[in-house]
């Protein structure tokens, strides 16, 4: 094993026996389920690694093998140093015992002596933030408290390798910030962290990604783009069209109808460009017909990521252009999205229509009102919300430079070229 290697996995396979035989890919009846097939990879000390993949791809089995809980059917793995793991909320805890008794139980289960735990006890309790309830039986703890205590034990005892299986989703925002800081600290002291998560935003900062699919190792990569590619893969398999060139939609029958409004056409294109690129301006044209003439209706453009994470909302009223009751029934809205704004990934375009914003605006400008009056007086409501009308993916092109951005591992889903200047002083 090389000096700076932490984990080596060589040709690891794991087969589970099924109680009820199933027909496999080769169309034969078998009671074997290969949870992992010939997995090999290496992790260096101080690396933080995210394992991704759909349910049933073998992520948890892989962690279980690394934690020594189950043995591989073939192949072998080597881990340098002490391994600490949280494979489930409350694993290694006894519900009837108090928090402090469980600190000792859990620590000793992971191979630490009572005196070692005692010397770290205060740090563990303080970090966990459950000091107030530390003498209560943990059966009365919430999942979040379980996690806080379990993670605090892990983080404060002297492990070399940490394994986490999808447990951080129950922590609150404050605790997530704390764990992030702790992870940085652990990485800086050459500890290795491996974790499985479906919350891809949790995995933004990893040194390495391992993508599993059906028990196979699909990809090992240091590029963050593996996350968005993985997401796109997931959605591709569900047969969704992703536009890479101009599109105009006139058939909205798959969306719920509204008695007040009809969307006639939505066009999304780039002038002088057949294929979408990031270095050109996007244009959006929206034609609507108001069916009732009683209310003012404002459109709101919502752009989100493929996993539903909303990136932005934009509407004419944000630049003061409110819709009016007196507006004609047939309207065309145009919107320009600046060039060098998107990255090269899939975005979702949704539209939302809100009515009576103008009245509210008038109300605000005419009298100074308290916020509770505002909510009382407003008649604003969402008339219609059409989700995911267009999915599009521009190609990354930047006329100013000639490099593949995916190599840079930039953070975030939007890569806007703001107005930057630099002067020598």
């Amino acid at each position: 094993m090389a000096e700076n290697t932490s984990i080596i996995v060589e040709n690891v396979s794991k087969v589970y026996k099924l109680l009820h035989p199933q027909i496999n890919e080769e169309a034969t009846l078998t009671n074997e389920h290969w949870a992992l097939r010939n997995i090999s990879f290496e992790i260096k000390k101080g690396e933080s690694v995210g394992i991704i993949g759909p349910n049933g791809s073998g992520k948890s089995t892989l962690l279980k093998i690394l934690a020594g809980v189950t043995k591989p059917t073939h192949g072998n793995a080597m881990i340098l140093g002490k391994v600490g793991s949280i494979l489930d909320i409350g694993a290694g805890f006894h519900p009837e015992l108090s928090g402090s008794e469980n600190v000792f139980l859990n620590g000793q289960l992971h191979g630490f002596s009572k005196s070692e735990i005692k010397s770290k006890y205060d740090a563990i309790v303080n970090f966990s933030g459950v000091a107030k309830f530390i003498n209560e039986p943990v059966k009365n703890y919430s999942n979040g408290m379980y996690l806080r205590l379990a993670f605090s034990i892990m983080a404060n005892l002297d492990f070399d390798v940490f394994l986490f299986d999808e447990v951080f989703s129950v922590g609150d925002a404050e605790f997530n910030i704390k764990t992030r800081a702790k992870f940085q600290e652990l990485r800086a002291t050459n500890k290795t962290i491996v974790f499985v998560s479906h919350n891809l935003s949790e995995l933004e900062n990893q040194d390495k990604y391992i993508l599993l699919e059906n028990g196979f190792l699909k990809e090992v990569s240091q590029k963050r783009s593996i996350l968005s590619n993985y997401l796109e893969d997931v959605f591709h398999t569900k047969n969704m069209n992703i536009c890479t060139e101009a599109i105009s939609i006139e058939d909205f029958s798959k969306f719920d109808l509204s008695s007040e409004l009809r969307v006639v056409r939505l066009s999304f294109f780039q002038k002088d460009n057949t294929k979408f690129t990031t270095d050109a301006e996007f244009e959006l044209e929206l034609e609507i017909e108001k069916l009732l003439n009683t209310d003012a209706i404002d459109p709101v453009l919502v752009i989100s990521e493929i996993n539903g994470n909303i990136l932005l909302s934009s509407s004419p009223f944000l630049s003061g252009k409110f819709a009016r009751k007196e507006d004609a029934a047939n309207l065309v809205y145009r919107c320009k999205i600046p060039k060098n704004f998107f990255g090269s990934q899939v975005y979702n375009v949704s539209l939302c229509f809100m009515k009576n914003l103008y009245e509210v605006e008038n109300y605000i400008t005419e009298t100074v009102v308290k916020s509770e009056d505002f909510t009382k007086n407003t008649k604003t409501e969402v008339v219609m919300f059409m989700e995911n009308i267009i999915k599009f993916k521009p190609n990354f092109v930047n006329s100013n430079m000639n490099i593949d951005l995916s190599n840079l591992n930039l953070h975030g889903s939007l890569l806007p070229a703001f107005d930057w200047t630099c002067k020598s002083i």
């Binding site: 020594g68 809980v69 881990i79 340098l80 793991s85 694993a91 139980l105 289960l109």
Partner: protein, 277 residues
């Protein structure tokens, strides 16, 4: 940075541990035996008012029932020692045995959640039950005090063999636990045998009857029942009751060796526990 050679490399593969590595591992995790035992005792008496007193009440009740029924109503006697002492010295051994069997064989199933999430040698679980059984046994020894005073009986110097009676008794309990677990983790039918061993076994073991009730033709049968040996050995250790039999030593070693072998085969199977329980 630590030197690579001083750090422990954990090797994970499909091979089961060798005999010596296995017992070395148990030695490494020996702390856990006590940790689990302590935990189970705390949990057992959590939210009870009488707490550990319950441990004494259970053998006390059995003692009273057996003494009244067999000693008073049927008017059986035990020869050299008063009948209640005879019954109690039988009961402590039998209770020790039955506790290990019941708790030991369900211990893996009871810990399934932990087993599926954290590694430790699974033999630790039945072994920790032996510790609890031993604590309960020591506590029930308190029941002897008033009886010894009342009947004015003294403890024999044989009491120095006390550790052997404990060991013999523990091996008798552990052997079926390990043996059955080897076969029963996939198909649990064998677990249903255990209550039979305990409920019917007491009728084949001189806990509340004496060997004299057997006709001479059958009394040798008691020599082949290790638990009968254990119970007789207990009485010999405590009160110099009966005479020392060589067959006890033979059975002791047979049971001990079989237990260690069963434990090792249990280890070869325990890697699969987390996949099947």
């Amino acid at each position: 940075m630590k030197d690579i050679k001083t750090e422990k490399v954990l090797i994970i593969n499909s091979k089961p541990d060798s005999f010596f590595v296995y017992f070395k591992k148990i030695w490494h995790y020996k702390n856990l035996i006590w940790v689990f035992a302590q935990r189970d005792i705390k949990v057992k008496y959590a939210q009870t008012m009488l707490g550990i007193t319950w441990t004494i009440l259970q053998p006390l009740t059995a003692l009273v029932i057996y003494t009244v029924f067999f000693g008073v109503i049927l008017n059986w006697s035990a020869g050299d020692i008063p009948f209640p002492l005879y019954v109690l010295s039988g009961l402590i051994g039998w209770n020790f045995f039955s506790y290990i069997i019941y708790q030991g064989s369900s211990s893996v199933q009871d810990a399934s959640f932990t087993i599926k999430k954290i590694y430790f040698p699974k033999s630790i679980l039945p072994l920790s039950k032996v510790v609890i059984a031993l604590i309960e046994l020591l506590l029930s020894l308190i029941l002897f005090i008033p009886l010894l005073l009342y009947y004015n009986v003294s403890i024999s110097w044989h009491i120095v063999f006390f550790p052997f009676s404990i060991l013999f008794n523990a091996f008798c309990g552990l052997l079926p636990v390990f043996f059955i677990a080897i076969f029963a983790y996939k198909k649990r039918d064998l677990f249903h045998l255990l209550p039979y061993i305990v409920t019917f076994g007491i009728w084949l073991t001189p806990v509340f009857f004496t060997n004299s009730i057997f006709s001479a033709r059958f009394s040798f049968l008691m020599d082949y029942n290790p638990m009968a040996n254990v119970v007789e050995f207990w009485r010999w250790v405590l009160f110099n009751y009966g005479s020392f039999k060589v067959i006890w030593v033979a059975n002791f070693f047979i049971v001990m060796i079989l237990t260690i072998v069963a434990m090792y085969f249990y280890n070869r199977k325990e890697n699969e526990f987390s996949d099947f329980i």
